[in-house]
Amino acid sequence: MKAEGRVFKFGDNVDTDVIIPARYLNSSDPAELAEHCMEDIDAEFVKKVKKGDIIVADKNFGCGSSREHAPIAIKAAGVSCVIAETFARIFYRNAINIGLPILECPEASKAIKDGDEVVVDFDSGVITDKTTGEEFKGQPFPEFMQKIIKSEGLINYINSEK
């Protein structure tokens, strides 16, 4: 499984309130949430993002609320993968549970620039910046989480185990 796309670069502590502001949480429809994805940090994001694009951020991405609407909005906006130095723990769980691929890789998060073309190979954990030719090795998931991701989310995983 691979992801390939143009990078949108963000800094430290991108919180769930800017990923999907609470004023839109009266909806739980993925398409509607996607229309407001990242609105309070980059109002143009949803106009610019294309299917397959990749978010790269610094530390503590997704901090704040437990709203699953945050990874749902990102996934429904077409983003294929989020790479960060670190993720806030609830966001990390939620992303895996809904099947949004995420990778912790401090080196990639530092080196990759906004607008770079990047390929992520989830099987090997290798991140390639096609724009600069640099390669990075992402933190592989523990086996348990790989099973959840391969089942495309926690619910399918539990259904398949029982």
Partner: protein
């Protein structure tokens, strides 16, 4: 190698003699919680299960509190979805408007959270119940759905940071000042993926309400949970609020901590977090002249009876500054009633404040106190992110109820000492 308080509870939940940091476990759950924002997503996910019924109708709590009383049609639809699910599954602990409160103030008050419990909630501030010596942590809606269906959840056993609280805090230094000080010290990701364990002789001076506030904001330091040992103050609270059996877990003498911090409570001052991160802390004497437009006193962080009493002590016989809006939100119906019987609501209203029915409302920019462009608010809530309470160019200053009440009177950020 010994275990921390958190590790002992998780070992018990997983049916193991011993666990260590980093281990993946499957634990039984004593309570699964959701609100009106997160439950509808979980209920939709539940529909995808092979198994359609809930694991235990007594161990699920559904508390519509964020946008209730319903703020608009879409919110009303969400609440309806939760209400119908509760009815269909005969959920014992569904709390309708009129009996509800802000979830993290309500559940301990109802005696549903006790020491030794393993609790997940689809709300990040679920970590609040650590104040009672439970393991409790925030999760998303899918985890909530899986928890409701199976009664289990997977966890990575966390490493821990130990906070040794020493000495007695000064009169206007509360649980809020202690946790803001800690977040300022270690940063908003200072406890990422870890437990925050609070111990030391200083905790004897902290009321249950102070402890709830401290555990509540563990997530603001990135923590997985924030836990206190069970002492006489905890036992007194439990005697008054619950009939459930409970187990107190103490950390082993040789438990391993990644870091240890000693906090001298007697040296702390009232503390304020400046925009736009809880870690941007200033002591009250280092805030400068900051004019404000609004004050909010309430939320799962600071809407409890001790918070109401502190605010009333300062507002009594005084009036808020001209042009100021001061919104007071008791966190539960019981707290509202207590505040009424103690004459606190009269004090608030005479001071020029408005008093609202319990709701999370303004804390997350839902309704009941949204900020316009350029406006500033001193708030006893928990987050001051960009746009959290309204316009992306508005500003939130996080503080204790004492500082918030003093600031409402002064019209600018002020110390209770100056009033």
């Amino acid at each position: 190698m010994g275990m921390t308080m958190t590790q002992k509870i998780l070992a018990h939940g997983a049916g193991l003699d011993k666990v260590e940091a980093g281990q993946l476990i499957m634990s039984k759950l004593d309570l699964v919680l959701g609100n009106d924002i997160t439950s509808p997503v979980a209920i939709k996910e539940m529909g995808k299960f092979n198994k359609t019924s809930v694991f235990d109708k007594d161990k699920i709590a559904l508390v519509p509190d964020h946008f209730v009383p319903n703020k608009d049609i879409k919110s009303a639809e969400h609440c309806k979805c939760v209400r119908e699910f509760a009815r269909r599954n005969d959920i014992t602990n569904y709390f309708e408007v009129g009996e509800m409160g802000i979830e993290h103030a309500l559940l301990p008050e109802k005696g549903l959270t006790v020491p030794g419990d393993v609790i997940i909630g689809a709300d990040s501030h679920t970590c609040t119940y650590g104040a009672l010596g439970a393991f409790s942590t925030g999760v998303g809606s899918t985890d909530m759905a899986a928890g409701m269906a199976t009664g289990e959840a997977w966890f990575k056993v966390p490493a821990a940071i130990r906070f040794v609280l020493k000495g007695k805090p000064a009169k206007w230094v509360s649980g809020k000042d202690i946790i803001l000080h800690i977040i300022g010290m270690i940063g908003v990701d200072g406890a990422l993926y870890k437990s925050m364990e609070f111990v030391g002789d200083g905790i004897q001076y902290l009321s249950m309400d102070d402890r709830f506030t401290i555990s509540n904001m563990a997530i603001e330091a990135g923590g997985k949970n924030g836990i206190f040992p069970v002492d006489d103050i905890t036992k007194e609270y439990l005697k008054e609020h619950t009939t459930r059996e409970w187990t107190a877990y103490e950390a082993d003498e040789d438990a391993v901590y990644d870091e240890e911090y000693v906090i001298e409570l007697d040296k702390l001052k009232p503390t304020v977090s400046f925009p736009h991160l809880p870690e941007n802390t200033h002591t009250i004497d280092d805030c400068g002249d900051i004019a404000i437009d609004q004050v909010v006193i309430g939320s799962c962080t600071n809407g409890r009876i001790a918070d109401m009493r502190t605010a009333a002590e300062i507002l009594k016989g005084r009036h808020i500054a001209k042009g100021m809006r001061c919104i007071v939100i008791p966190a539960t119906q019981k707290i509202y009633m207590q505040a009424m019987e103690e004459g606190l609501l009269k004090i608030f209203i005479e001071a020029g404040a408005v008093v609202s029915t319990p709701t999370c409302g303004p804390c997350l920019g839902g309704y009941m106190g949204i900020l316009a462009e350029g406006e500033r608010c001193v708030s006893t809530t928990n987050r001051n992110f960009v746009g959290r309470m309204g316009h992306i160019k508005s500003e939130i200053y996080l503080a204790s109820p004492a500082v918030a009440a003093a600031s409402a009177i002064a019209g600018k950020i002020a110390s209770p000492e100056d009033i």
